[in-house]
């Protein structure tokens, strides 16, 4: 039986991620120890963040299952609930309901393969979770390529971690910004361009792509050019959601319910659906 009752959590830490202040990462800890232990998620899943008096919003889980004891959510301030969330302080109570959705195929299709992760903007959240998971289980996967772009250096999320990851030699990291910026000596250019330059050949590989629709649209041709097929590419869809459990129908794309059947789909699956996302 579904439970619509969120788990009570406390905000343990709030970190402003970007220069415009619109993205904050919330570190949440469970109030109830049993619920903490029972919580199991896979990277790519999402949860409903619940604010009493405001409502619920579906947000991708930014922490890896390997980071035990807390959950991380990076939230853009956009609507009613996210605005209220951004005004909250550490120590305050809120709710989390989930984990919901399918997540990336870390134990199935991704196992033993080379992984290419392509992220644009703040869609990087669940991919951060994935990368950390992969690094924790490094021996289970082949070569890992992580391509991440933002508009400006100040709009890159998880900057401290990016520096840590750059030091590792078992991850091929490519961080790019759209335009030249003072103090930035890294890559400059849009994600699709960089992806075309650094993406490995498709043999025994899968790609996970999250970003604005326009980025996904332009990232595909360079990949296809070097032989990538739609079956190898995983995308994460988002739609307005209410229940998160496949009941209320809000997130439907044709017969598919993004919250239940997704949010992660192969590009082959997505192509079969009407364009209602």
């Amino acid at each position: 039986m579904i439970s619509y009752l969120p788990y009570p959590v406390r905000i343990n830490e709030i970190k402003v991620e970007t220069e415009d202040g619109n993205l904050k990462t919330f570190k949440l800890v469970f109030e109830n120890e049993a619920q903490r232990k029972a919580w199991k998620h896979v990277p790519g899943q999402f949860a409903m963040l619940s604010l009493a008096g405001q409502g619920e919003i579906p947000i991708g889980i930014a922490s890896s299952p390997t980071e035990e004891g807390h959950l991380l959510f990076t939230v853009n301030r956009a609507g009613k609930v996210t605005t209220a969330l951004h005004q909250m302080h550490t120590g305050e109570r809120m709710g989390v309901r989930g984990p919901l959705g399918n997540g990336f195929p870390i134990d199935t299709d991704m196992k033993g393969k080379n992984i290419v992760i392509i992220a644009g903007g703040f869609a990087v959240t669940t991919l951060r979770a994935t990368l950390i998971y992969l690094m924790e289980h490094r021996q289970d996967y082949g070569k890992i390529t992580f391509i991440y772009g933002a508009r400006t250096p100040g709009m890159l999320l998880y900057q401290d971690e990016l520096q840590e990851w750059a030091k590792r030699d078992d991850v091929d990291l490519h961080i790019t910004v759209d335009r030249e910026a003072p103090g930035w000596d890294g890559l400059v250019g849009f994600v699709p361009t960089i992806a075309g330059q650094v993406a490995p050949s498709p043999g025994n590989s899968v790609a996970l792509i999250c970003g604005p629709p326009i980025m996904i649209k332009f990232t595909m041709p360079p990949l296809e050019k070097i032989g990538w097929t739609d079956d190898q590419v995983y995308l994460s869809l988002e739609n307005r959601m209410k229940c998160g459990e496949g009941v209320c129908c809000h997130c439907n794309v044709g017969p598919t319910l993004v919250c239940k059947d997704g949010p992660v789909f192969t590009r082959t699956q997505v192509k079969k659906l009407p364009v209602e996302y």
Partner: protein
Amino acid sequence: MKVFRLSQTELDSMVQGWSQNRRVYRPAAGRQQSAQADCAPGWERVAGSSPLTVATGPSKTSVKTFLFPQPETMQTYTLKSSDPDKGLLKEPEKTTGKQIIVGLRPCDARSVKLNNLPFREDPFYQASLARTVMVGFTCNTMCATCFCDQMGGSPMGTEGLDIAISQVDGTMIAEVLTPAGEELIADLSLTPAEDSDINALAERRKDCPQADSAKLDALKSRDLNKLYGAPVWQALGESCINCGACTFNCPTCYCFDVQDEVVRGQGRRIRYWDSCMFPLYSLHTTGHNPRGQKMQRTRNRFMHKLKYFPDRYGPFSCVGCGRCVQDCPVNIDIREVIHDLLAVE
């Protein structure tokens, strides 16, 4: 299964007996001038001794309001700073006690079964279902807007009912179909039906329009994208005004929205009926709307009923009650839509 013979007086006293200690509801007679305070529009609580008769055809509003109330409290909480439980969501107090719905038609009873497919894991729907007993009247005549037979039901069908009452040649025959139904009649001394009654009922059932979905089932095997791209949507979308008259009166439309309401520090999270006809239904916070055009929303409703739902769960999400046909302000007739879709190759 037990079968009884009832006179109008026996039926009336039976229903009145139930209403002594349980909540009993029946369709409101005629156009309702004013809804009762403790009852959804279109229905009324049985009280007093007015004889129970039900007009031909389905009730004005559907039975879903009893299983999927509008609104339904999902959680409650307080926002008072003095309360240590501030902001903690709690399960609401459970409504207990049986509710008996009298006088619903076979189409509505079947809708309860169909909605149970998406709601099979939903705690609220299941709780309502467990405390609801449905005493239905089968139909001797089909209205011009009825098409239950084409959607896999039948005017004399009993699917979903606990007790089915049929009018056969001036007498009423009650078929008690489930343990919940048996519980209702446990203490009553009813006249068992004669064999002749049972035969007459079987005869009537045999002669009435039978569930025949063979023609429509052809839709299920049609290609999704071809139906999606069918030419019929353009004209339909142009005349549709995107109100929710069809969805809210439809017994098998089950979408809901969730919202928080706070009054003087006390809050609740409710779910209430939503309609895919409304632009807000699919609107993203970014302003992007995957179904931003009227036509796309009209299409979604019919595609959901006739293609998406069957693809997911098997049967069509329509029981052929004809309420949408009657209530549509611009006369969009689902039977014509089906006809047009069947023509799509």
